[in-house]
Amino acid sequence: MSAAHDVPLDDDGQVHLRLYVAGQTPKSLAAIANLKRLCEEHLAGRYTIEVVDLQVTPQLAAGDQIVAVPTLIRRLPPPLRRVIGDLSNAERVLVGLDMIPRSSAT
């Protein structure tokens, strides 16, 4: 996918992602796996992933307005983006992270 090169990146090109999950559920595990795979494919070497388990740190849920889990938040570069679900739909994830233009998503 060459579209990844069109991503507007931060100065240093780093993408900071945070994934909120609630426990080690199948959905959580699927989301983590899907995210790692997508990042390796499109953002190799310039991403960081932080996984927050709300079962362990529930106090973090309100701060980032988490309602649904899993929720993926792109903290950097701004603006903040959020994608919910187990991230099985790669195209929607990329749209949600502004990595491909919205119009091409169907």
């Binding site: 609630a22 309100a62 309602v67 959020r82 991230l87």
Partner: protein, 569 residues
């Protein structure tokens, strides 16, 4: 209502009855016989502007203040600062409650445009937040306002539905008493049909406009495991918060009192067989404009306050200040009672609320203030279908009777003699009916009071003229003469005429007496003269007799002298 109360506890041998959590909202607890089902969610639905949020906040604040129950308010619509500002007018200090760890407000922001869905999700995040908030302060009460915002913020309503079902199960598992609010939907209770998931208690709020007057109403649609009032009940949202008014008809079983209290006007007391009104009776004062209905009401209140009783004056045409000023002009000083805390005015335009709402408000004021006499001035200000007005007044009269409150209602009647339907209907509710009329004669109007009825006592049937003087109402005896009842100057003139007639009669008698006296004096003088005449005649006769004797002696002496001289030796 009483039947339902008894139905609530059919038998003590059964499983423990449903525990209830008082909402702290006066009236709602009464009509649900204790409050909301404890540890279960309650659905509160209604259209926009019904007061769902306020119900929720009141539930939490009262819970914290009155029962020490900490609460969580999860808001999907208003931010915490907005919420705090909005309820500050009700005297609720959310910031303080939050600081004291009695309340957690969690604003859940959902913007559909900002959220991309990529695969399956669940609402565990919400559960975690809610669970965390509940656990942090040990919350017993939870409000979710408005949970349906989830449908607007998230896609995949099938997932949402199953998650909502799980949410309610989660709330039950947490053992919190929850209020879940929802928007009213077309053809169903809520827009997204979530009443399906909340099956324990459903309360419907309504905001109806009839004849440009809005009335808020509440109805408990269902309450599993408990009986409840089934009617629609009006409720108020004002500076005192939310008040629901279950208007229970007290029936006709109230206690009666044979204690009598003064009407505040001495002459009127005298007309009533027991020298006043029975305590707890309803008094109607009807009359045309300017007959002094309010003055009579104020006299009554003045007398009550002077006895040290609490009075409540509902003014629907004048402001409190205006009533006080106007009554000051007839020498009734209401301000001092107000200052002493014995008199409270509640002034409102009749068109401000519907009848139900007025009644509800009056009921609440009566409950709060607990007066021993009330005045409603005037009931005729309520315009609307006679049936409704009548029902409202009947219930107000019932409320007063059941509490032993003596109520005085004034009513503006048309100037004609004919009684309107409304008056006829209302009058049958009243124990005492005082009619004030303007009698028009000889180019002037005069005020006349009459007692049309007084239940349970004899009363004067006379028309009595009264005057509004600078020291209150003064009853004047009416002149009843051969020409009928005379009032005003006609009475004064007639009285003057009578006084004149009396005077001239007196004068005539005096004159006759003088003439007689003169005659007597004359006669006595005549008698004296005659007597004198007689006496002088008598004296004459005596004198003549004495002369005779002298003459005879003289004659005898002469004769002896002459015989001596002749020498008759």
């Amino acid at each position: 209502m009483t039947d339902q109360v008894s139905a609530q506890n059919p038998g003590a041998h059964k499983a423990p009855p449903l525990r209830k959590t008082p909402t702290g909202i006066a009236g709602l607890d009464a009509l649900t016989f204790g409050g909301l089902p404890e540890g279960r969610p309650t659905l509160m639905c209604g259209a926009a502007g019904c007061g769902k949020t306020l119900f929720g906040i009141t539930f939490l604040v009262k819970g914290s203040e009155d029962h020490g129950d900490p609460g969580v308010f999860m808001s999907f619509e208003e931010r915490q600062d907005e919420l705090t500002t909005n309820v500050a007018s009700l005297g609720f200090d959310l910031d303080d409650l939050i600081a004291r760890k009695k309340l957690v407000v969690d604003y859940v922001r959902l913007e559909r445009g900002e959220i991309e869905q990529a695969g399956d999700y669940d609402l565990e995040g919400l559960f975690v937040r809610l669970g965390h908030a509940i656990d942090t302060i040990g919350a017993k009460r939870v409000v979710l306002d408005t949970v349906e915002a989830l449908f607007a913020g998230l896609e995949d309503s099938a997932t949402l539905r199953s998650e909502l079902r799980r949410l309610f199960a989660f709330l039950k598992a947490k053992g919190v008493t929850a209020i879940v609010t929802a928007e009213r939907g077309e053809g169903q209770l809520t827009r997204y049909g979530i009443e399906e998931y909340v099956s324990d208690c459903v309360i419907l709020l309504d905001n109806r406009v009839i004849d440009q007057v809005t009335t808020r109403r509440l109805r408990v649609i269902k309450y599993r495991g408990s009986s409840h009032g089934t009617n629609e009940y009006p409720f108020l949202i004002d500076e005192q918060g939310v008040t629901v008014l279950p208007i229970t008809s007290a029936g006709l079983a109230h206690e009666v009192s044979s204690e009598v209290i003064s009407a505040g006007v001495a002459g009127l007391d005298a007309m009533l067989g027991r020298h006043g009104y029975y305590r707890g009776s309803s008094v109607l004062v009807s009359g045309s404009a300017g007959t002094g209905k309010s003055t009579l009401a104020a006299s009554f209140v003045d007398a009550a306050c002077a006895r040290g009783e609490r009075s409540l004056y509902f003014a629907f045409e004048e402001s409190a200040a205006q009533v006080i000023r106007n009554m000051g002009s007839v020498g009734i000083d209401l301000q001092r009672h107000r200052d002493a805390g014995l008199l409270v005015f509640e002034a409102a335009r009749p068109s401000l609320y519907g009848f139900e709402m007025h009644l509800a408000r009056m009921h609440r004021d009566i409950e709060t203030y607990n007066p021993s006499v009330i005045v409603v001035d005037p009931i005729s200000a309520f315009r609307g279908p006679a049936v409704e007005v009548n029902a409202t007044l009947l219930r107000l009269a019932d409320i007063c009777k059941s509490r032993g409150i003596t109520a005085l209602f004034t009513s503006l009647s048309s100037t004609g003699d004919a009684m309107t339907d409304g008056e006829r209907d209302v009058s049958s509710l009243m124990d005492i009916w005082i009619a004030l009329t303007d009698l028009e004669a000889n180019g002037e109007r005069n005020r006349v009071l009459s007692l049309l009825k007084a239940r349970g006592m004899s009363h004067s049937k006379q028309l009595r003229e009264y005057r509004l003087t600078d020291h209150g109402i003064e009853m004047v005896p009416v002149y009843v003469g051969p020409d009928g009842v005379l009032t005003g100057t006609a009475r004064v003139a007639q009285e003057a005429r009578e006084r004149e007639a009396e005077q001239s009669r007196q004068d005539r008698i005096t004159a006759r007496r003088r003439v007689l006296e003169r005659r007597r004096v004359a006669v006595e003088r005549q008698i004296a003269e005659l007597q004198a005449e007689l006496e002088s005649e008598e004296a004459e006769v005596t004198r003549m007799g004495e002369q005779d004797e002298v003459d005879a002696t003289n004659r005898h002496a002469d004769r002896s002298l002459m015989s001596t001289l002749r020498g008759d030796l």
